[in-house]
């Protein structure tokens, strides 16, 4: 459930960033396509980074051992 919600949050951030880039830096179709590509690629990379770490901790096989005496 946490994974789906945060993925949706990343998607929303990506869409908002694309719209903001389009509005603030509107300089012809070629540049706009370039900006869109950059924003989507950055969002995907950040999401992937987060998702990998999150998935790795969802059901850990190696749990933190609290006692150092062990």
């Amino acid at each position: 459930m946490g994974f789906s919600v945060t993925t949706l949050i990343f998607a929303v951030i990506g869409i908002v960033a694309s719209l903001c880039t389009r509005i603030c830096f509107n300089r012809g179709p070629s540049a706009n396509l370039f900006h869109l590509t950059l924003v989507l690629t950055a969002t995907t990379c950040c999401w992937m980074m987060w998702a990998i770490v999150y998935l790795a901790q969802m059901k850990p096989l190696i749990v933190p051992i609290l006692s150092e005496g062990e």
Binding site: T37, L38, A42, C45, V53, K59, P64, E68
Partner: protein, 681 residues
């Protein structure tokens, strides 16, 4: 007409007028009108040049005349003064010596008689010739003459040669016609210019005034003529480039219309080379494009990997560097370079500083992504019972299970990111092939590559995700090994989902099929294509037997397009082997992601905390100093370039290697100043 254009260019070069580099959009020029116009302009230019030369010659002569008059006037004045003094002296002697009064009077009368008969010639002679000139004149007249020379201080324009020459003014007094003719011949031999003048002072002044007036008049005329010539040349220069292009175009069209095999005027080089490549960049994207161009410059209209590199390169650096504290340090350095941008741009920097300044935007992007990945994988501030929402659980830090967990996490992360990047590269190769309408590359290069990569390493990525999601204790390492060694054995405790055994068999079979699929069809299909073209040429050759030149032309084209099957096959074999082995080694090379944080932890725990534990101020200060030096010297200045180079290699090998040929060359703009070599038509 090309000859006339060359003449105009030469005249403009002499006059210092440069032809305008931009040609006007004037499509209404007709060729007949152009020819008539060029003819008129040439005639006008030649006439102006001739008139200018004539005027200049006359002007120079008048200048010399004026100089002669001035100098001769001076000579006559001084001579008259001397005569007056001499006269007084004679009278004084007469008064003193009364006994010889009669002989003096006789002598005076005789002198007057001689003076009446004397003639004179005046002019200019070269200074270096003045001594021989004087000597020869004395010998010719046997001393029966009087010669006087005066030096002109500044150089004089010679009417004949048009050069500045040092000259002397001379006056010769003689008696008798025979001596006069001799003197005239000697003047001609020495190239001395002679000018007539009167011995009367008032007439001399009048002549000087007339000559000065004529000189001023002529000067004004010459200036007006020069202005007119300059205006004409500028008008020609305005249209020169356009006329040249038009004439070239017309010559080319005439050559084609004549259908002649031999080009009459110039040879158009038909080339099969690709056009050069040019990408528009700004100061932000240019450094990323340089990273791509270092691998190779794109072939004409090939997909540019620089677009994705703007994001993926700093991201991969950050995954390796992955430290928000040091990321902030990098960000501050980049911001400093950006703030001082204008000053540094106009300044001479050292090698290392120049490189850092050139890549300041790369450094900024790397820093931002480093801060993010540092947060995502290191620290957090929220403590909840369920899965940690962002980053690694801080409870993991300092425990015995930290290292196994982090190593496992990073290894799997490397595989996932590496496989994603390679898939992106292969997808780019699909777009390249689609754009160039190369169906062979789509069906026999892109498709088997996707199948091979995802049958093995894509499947491994899927297993990683399933293991994380289900909490299974399967050993993926042994699972992958036994998939190859004994694919039909029971999976046992390594089974992750129902039907896994069958799926693995199918994927293994697909991978095995994909390799010959990549290897074999393309060379044979290329050979078939070539044979079809070859038969077409044979047909043309048979039809064109009557025309010898056309036959030779076809023969040349045929030789140029020769197909070597073994060469193509070997090339495809190498490419296939490279891809298969590359898929394995590129996945392994992704493990470079493990590097940075171990070193950072070592410095933090062993230096800073150890110093803190002693409860001694001096030891603490030394510890802080060592920590700062280690942080700046090792982690920032050494580790950053290391991560940079690893990210660079990952980009070149994992990403660009999958689709990028990079055998083009850069574009250099056309300029009229480079047309000097093309003037030889």
């Amino acid at each position: 007409m090309a000859r006339r254009l060359r003449l105009f260019k030469e005249q403009m070069t002499k006059a210092g007028v440069s032809p305008s580099m931009w040609s006007t959009r004037d499509d209404h020029f007709d060729l007949e009108h152009l020819e008539v116009k060029l003819e008129e302009l040439e005639a006008e230019l030649l006439e102006i040049n001739a008139n200018n030369e004539k005027l200049q010659h006359t002007y120079n002569e008048l200048l010399e005349y004026k100089l002669v008059l001035e100098k001769v006037g001076e000579l006559f004045s001084s001579a008259k003064n001397k005569a007056v003094a001499h006269q007084k002296e004679l009278e004084f002697q007469t008064t003193v010596e009364g006994s010889i009064d009669s002989p003096l009077l006789l002598e005076q009368e005789e002198t007057t008689t001689k003076q009446i008969k004397l003639g004179f010639i005046g002019g200019l002679v070269h200074r270096e010739k003045s001594i021989p000139f004087e000597r020869i004149i004395f010998r010719a007249a046997r001393g029966n003459l009087f010669l006087k020379q005066g030096v002109i201080e500044h150089p004089v324009l010679d009417p004949l040669s048009g050069e500045m020459v040092h000259k002397n003014v001379f006056v010769v007094f003689y008696s008798g016609e025979r001596v006069k003719s001799k003197i005239l011949k000697i003047c001609d031999a020495f190239g001395a210019n002679r000018y007539a003048f009167s011995n009367d002072s008032s007439k001399q002044f009048q002549t000087i005034r007339e000559v000065s007036g004529r000189i001023s008049e002529l000067k004004a005329t010459i200036d007006a003529a020069l202005i007119h010539r300059s205006t004409l040349l500028q008008t020609i220069g305005y249209h020169h480039g356009q006329w040249r292009l038009l004439i070239h175009k017309v010559l080319q069209r005439a050559t084609m219309d004549c259908s002649s095999q031999v080009v009459a005027i110039f040879q158009v080089l038909e080339t099969t080379e690709s056009p050069p490549t040019y990408f528009c960049t700004n100061k932000f994207t240019s450094s990323f494009q340089e990273i791509v161009d270092a691998y190779g410059i794109a072939k004409y209209q090939e997909a540019n990997p620089g677009v994705y590199t703007v994001v993926t390169f700093p991201f991969l650096f950050a995954v390796m560097f992955g430290d928000w504290g040091h990321g902030i340090c990098l960000l501050l350095a980049a911001l400093y370079l950006m703030i001082r941008e204008r000053k540094f741009a106009s300044q001479k920097l050292g090698d290392i500083m120049e490189m850092a300044f050139g890549g300041r935007y790369i450094i900024m992007m790397m820093a931002l992504f480093s801060i993010y990945t540092g947060d995502a994988s290191t620290t957090g501030f929220i403590k909840v019972r369920s899965t940690y929402p962002f980053g690694v659980d801080p409870k993991c830090h300092g425990t015995r299970s930290e290292l196994p967990f982090l190593n496992s996490l990073k290894m799997k992360m490397s595989i996932l990111l590496g496989v994603s990047q390679m898939n992106l590269g292969i997808i780019m190769s699909y777009f390249n092939a689609k754009y160039f309408k190369n169906n062979i590359n789509i069906w026999y290069q892109f498709v088997p590559q996707i199948i091979f990569l995802n049958s093995l390493f894509g499947y491994l990525s899927l297993l990683i995700i399933i293991k994380w999601s289900t909490g299974s204790q399967a050993d993926l390492y042994h699972l992958m090994i036994y998939t190859f060694l004994s694919p039909t054995d029971d999976l046992g405790e390594n089974q992750l989902f129902v039907g896994q055994k069958l799926l693995q068999l199918v994927l293994l079979l697909l991978a095995v099929v994909a390799v010959p699929w990549m290897l074999l069809p393309k060379p044979f299909l290329l050979k078939k294509q070539h044979q079809e073209r070859h038969q077409g040429q044979s047909y043309d050759l048979l039809c064109g037997t009557d025309d010898t030149l056309e036959s030779e032309s076809q023969s040349i084209a045929h030789d140029h397009d020769e197909f070597d099957f073994s060469e193509v096959f070997v090339h495809q074999l190498i490419h296939t082997i490279e891809f298969v082995l590359g898929a394995v080694s590129n996945t392994a090379s992704s493990l470079r992601f493990l590097a940075h944080s171990e070193l950072s932890s070592v410095f933090y725990d062993k230096v800073l905390l150890l110093a803190w534990g002693y409860n001694n101020t001096i030891v603490l200060i030394i510890g802080i100093f060592v920590f700062i030096c280690a942080t700046v010297g090792v982690l920032l200045l050494m580790e950053s370039p290391s991560a940079f180079l690893h990210a660079l290699r990952l980009h070149w090998v994992e990403y660009q290697n999958k689709f990028y040929e990079g055998d083009g060359y850069k574009f250099f703009p056309f300029s009229f100043t480079l047309l000097t070599d093309e003037d030889e038509l």
